[in-house]
């Protein structure tokens, strides 16, 4: 029996330069995922047409969908390459089929599938996504938190800044200053925390200015593509109420 293979059709290029498509035929191994296919290509960087080429560049780290590095647009959908299985129950392709892989489009391309997501980390600075502690020295136990609140905060804390939500968001692009759903969801988390609450107003202000929550167009794509199933639209709704309250009554606090 002939070796079972899949074809990877990959969009390649560097920086703002031109893009080209290259196709690679990759043997199917058990438990294969998109990353293992890319690894095969670099061991034998030859296109399907027999042309020698450079190994494909991609970004990855943990390979277990917890670091957020390997987001790519695979068959038109932003997702982690590591958890995109080729075969098995969640497989995306059968032998002989083609898988299309592109870099995310909402960030500057570095090379091939690698993009620069600094913009997302900058957004975390803007919304002050941290608890303002007095220092790392011993100050005794932290505040008590009810298990109920923990069950809300924990899923929010799993955001890995992977970019799926913003890649799928029609309001997040070069021409818009929108900070993106992930940042708004984190504001919700920090504003729930007993000591994070003390600076809740500053974080709300940060998402009430230009590019903030008002720029959300409620397309609801984000929540559908989030690999960690973070309730992003729920967070946006909760923050919508909070910011509205602050807009209406915040001046009383000043």
């Amino acid at each position: 029996m002939a070796q079972e293979t899949v074809t990877l059709k990959i969009k390649r290029g560097a920086g703002t330069g031109e893009s080209t498509w290259e196709e690679f035929s990759v043997p199917l191994s058990p438990n294969a995922n998109v990353i293992s296919c890319l690894m095969e290509i670099r061991k034998n960087p030859v296109t399907k047409g027999g042309q020698s080429t450079t190994p494909v560049s991609w970004d990855s780290c943990c390979l277990e969908e917890v670091c957020g590095a390997c987001t790519m647009v695979i068959n038109g959908r932003a997702r982690q390459a590591c958890s995109t299985m080729i075969n098995g129950p969640h497989g995306i392709a059968k032998s002989g089929e083609t898988i299309t892989i592109e870099p995310m489009t909402k960030f500057p391309r570095v090379r091939d599938l690698v993009v620069d997501r600094s913009k997302m980390f900058d957004a975390l600075k803007r919304v002050k996504a941290w608890i303002q502690i007095d220092g790392s020295h011993e100050l005794g136990a932290g505040p008590r938190v009810s298990p109920k609140d923990q069950e809300i905060m924990y899923p929010l804390s799993r955001c890995m800044t992977c970019g799926c939500c913003v890649e799928s968001c029609p309001n997040y692009n070069d021409h818009s200053p929108f900070i993106g759903p992930f940042a708004i969801s984190l504001v919700r988390m920090y504003n729930m925390h007993p000591s994070g609450k003390m600076h809740a107003g500053e974080r709300l202000d940060s998402i009430m200015s230009e590019g903030g929550i008002a720029d959300c167009g409620k397309a609801q794509n984000c929540v559908k593509v989030c690999p960690k199933a973070i309730p992003l639209t729920e967070s946006i709704a909760v923050m919508g109420r909070e910011t509205l309250k602050r807009a209406l009554f915040g001046w009383l606090l000043k």
Binding site: N33, C67, V110, W130, I131, I133, Q150, S157
Partner: protein, 688 residues
Amino acid sequence: MAAKVSVKSKNGKVRRAIVVGGGLAGLMTVIKLCEAGIPVDLISLVPVKRSHSVCAQGGINASVNLKGEGDSPQIHMEETCLGGDFLANQPPVKSMADAAPGIVFMLDRMGVPFNRTPEGNLDFRRFGGTLFHRTAFSGATTGQQLLYALDEQVRRYETVDVTDDKGVTIPGEKMVRKFEFWDVCDLVIDDDGIVRGVVAQDLKTSEIRSFVGDAVCLATGGVGMVYGRSTNSVINTGSAAAVAYRRGAYYANGEFIQVHPTAIPGADKLRLISESVRGEGGRVWVPRDQNDKRKGKDIPEKERYYFLEERYPAYKNLVPRDIASREIFKTVVHEGYHTRPGVRAAFLDVTHLAKTPAAKHALRNKLEGVLEIYEKFAGEDPYENPMEIFPAVHYSMGGLWVGFEKNDRGGMKMGSPANAQTNLPGLFATGEADYEYHGANRLGANSLLSCIWGGMITGPAMASWRESVKGSAFDMDEGVFEKSAKRAREEFETYFKRTGSEFNENPFKIHDELAEEMLVKVTVERKNNELDGVIAKIGELNERFDKCAVLDTTPTGKMNQPAVFLRHLRGMLDLAEVIVRGARARDENRGAHYKPIFDPERQEAKDYTGEGAGKGRDDENWQKTTKAQYVGPKSAPKLSYEAVDVSLVKPRARVYKQASMDAAKGSLGASKEEPKGDVKAEAKPATT
């Protein structure tokens, strides 16, 4: 204030320290430096939020004793030393265990969403090598939540202005400058042998430049990629540690590589299934009938062989990792058991914990992160079907050799520049990149602790060093730095000459061959003749490395992953040699290092005619730290040995078959009493 520690140098530069690596250890070091008023350049291969610390799942140990079991830092320290088979210097272990409760409280204050008790306190669960509930956790993705907490604090410092000695803001200077997607390629060492900075390469543009630092810390993690497929992230090649090693830093206890008992096989990596699964009641078993073809869930209770529970009635599924891995290996590979014919795996079962919707909800709250990994990657529902697992390379107990200064209470003296400092003056190492706390085997949930504790002592140590060292790097002639950068650039340029037909090797294939050899012969069971074979193989791969093609001749100015990989492959080959040579030399069984000829239970020991057959752990000859020193390219490292400081816990046999019931009730019983059990039947009896 001495001029050399003023914020600004004479030529107007802000004096900074350098931290390489942005995992828990690196970030904690940064925080401590910032708190001491020292600005930092933080260099990392990946955005620090993606560091390998995110992969830690189960939790972080701290003897807070919130379950009223009588747990204490003293017991934590004793169990850590015992778990490490008495290879760790004990003063650092003591200080770490003492600091642990404060560390967990600090993380709690930083907003880590730890799981809670009904009263709103931190919840704790059990982990391997202890009978106490000592592990604080945030679902089953604790490393992620901890890393994010520290990442957020460091991000805050990215927004904090540097002020000069008079408190005036220096325009444009922030306490932390991050250099993400940068790879360290060399150290800058002055004529006195003092480390004054690093040379690093921007992976996005291939630009190489030097960084000036009044102290340099490597917090660059372990070396799992030497084994190719492991539970490690792809960045864990040990490249920065290898750079330091080649420049003369000792690499200590390299042969001690932890193999985690439970991981899911994959084509690209072996994904960890946390020990917390067993901590919450998960059970390891195989069908008693080796021809059983039924699905795990269809095999009745009495036809299941719970081999860990039968062999270790006290600790059951929570024996330390070295022991659990060996038992699974023995049961599956030597005794022929498996989950189904043709599959090399054992079952890890939580289905009994998810029988009712309420129970399933509770289980999900504690283990979702890891069970969802199984569901996504193995394609089966672990709440319905037992998981198929097999051991996988997981953690480097060894690492760069570092020193410590003892205090008069038997622990470490906080703020001493000797702490965490390598033998290269001015170079510090911390986290998994060092060798300090885990001896021959790390206990689960001690790694997050050792990383954060490591940062807590390394920051102050670097601050003291900065005050005591002769002169500041920022007042030195810039020529030294430019010379180092130029050398690194020239070396990188040589990669691009690797294009002729004589360069017919693919570096990624060389890596595969190295990994295969290491994985088969230098993990759970080690045999001297096989280790000799691995040494020969590394020699061969070293020769073939010289024939590796660059694969991508894109001129600098752009990202070039294949060229950078050559540097990392060089490092992996060097560190593989350190691991194997250390393992070959160490003729005893200790923790993760195990040779069947020294196990009296094994036929190999009975057949062995050499000295010490079946001797187990050999404290007389081998209770010492291995120190490997680089001699030159393609040469065997020079091995030397150093006595272990066992001033606090007297070495004794490791027995996990039974513990006195006192342990569960909260006295020191388990850890103080001499074991009375069947020592011979233990995987690894000791000689003391």
